[in-house]
């Protein structure tokens, strides 16, 4: 485990928790990123109003602003390493979008907010998406050797 960075992980995790608690304390909203973003897409199943969209845009703007300010304090803005195959990138994005919509949440909404409330739905969802991701990585990295 020579890549293990426990201190940075704990500090970063605590900040994610702080942001989650602050959003609830201030606005009464759950900090589930797929839900915040999905609410902007005028989904047929949602009844998002125009004023409701502004805080969602603001949250995502803050999210994108963070690594830009990071460049001033030594966190270089790096292009993330994604699969070389364009079709894989597209399929991965589609699956993440469909899955978080139907499953009502992602790593933040279920994995942090939901588990913190001991929600049975979120505990089950987190176990399932973790397991599915682990199996996917095992298959793509070791069985089919990407």
């Amino acid at each position: 485990m020579n890549n293990f960075t426990p201190i940075a992980a704990a500090v970063g995790g605590a900040l994610i928790g702080l942001a989650t608690v602050l959003l609830m304390m201030l606005t009464g909203r759950v900090a589930g990123i797929s839900g915040i973003f999905g609410g902007l897409l005028s989904l047929p199943s949602s009844d998002t109003t125009q004023s409701d969209k502004i805080w969602r845009i603001a949250f995502i703007a803050g999210l994108i602003l963070a690594p830009l300010t990071g460049t001033f304090v030594g966190h270089a803005l790096a292009e993330p390493q994604l699969p070389a195959s364009w079709p894989v990138v597209v399929v991965a994005g589609l699956l993440v979008g469909i899955g978080t919509r139907i499953g009502s949440g992602c790593t933040s909404g279920h994995g942090v907010c939901g588990i913190a409330r001991l929600s049975p739905r979120s505990i089950v969802a987190t176990m399932i998406f973790m397991a599915a991701a682990i199996v996917t990585v095992a298959l793509t990295h070791h069985v089919f050797g990407a």
Partner: protein, 144 residues
């Protein structure tokens, strides 16, 4: 005021992902790859986030109302239904393929990486498709 609060929260959240290394798909895949050079960092990130959130949410529930809004919008459902299971499975496969979940995907737009932009567009289309599937499922009634 609410928008300003949301901007601040998004900013802190983004710094959390940045410092913890969770913006980096390689680091996330290092956690998911239990048969490779396993990196437990993601588990520590979740533990840190959960420790703070559990205490903070318990405090919020005692307070009764948020500071800038009329009420707390706590999710209320507790049933484990088929869409939850199917959705989590689908999301997990996509997450395993690219190492990106929605938060880091949006945050990585800052790099203007073409792959991230395409991923986010595909994710948005996926959410709209998921919304349509949900709507049809509701129209047809429960499938079990």
């Amino acid at each position: 005021m609410i928008a300003l609060a949301a901007l601040l929260c998004g900013f802190i959240f983004g710094w959390g992902l940045l410092i913890s290394g969770m913006m980096n798909p390689t680091k996330v895949l290092g956690f998911l790859d239990i048969f490779g050079a396993w990196d437990a960092s993601l588990a520590v990130v979740m533990a840190g986030a959960l420790a703070v959130t559990s205490i903070g949410f318990a405090w919020a529930k005692q307070r009764g109302t948020p500071l800038l809004a009329p009420r707390f919008q706590w999710p209320t459902r507790s049933d484990i239904d088929r869409p939850l299971v199917a959705g989590a499975l689908t999301f997990g496969v996509g997450w395993g393929l690219a190492g990106l979940c929605p938060g880091p995907a949006l945050e990585n737009l800052a790099s203007l990486s073409p792959r991230v932009i395409i991923f986010v567009i595909a994710m948005a289309i996926g959410m709209m498709v998921g919304g349509l599937l949900q709507k049809r499922a509701i129209a047809e009634g429960p499938a079990y």
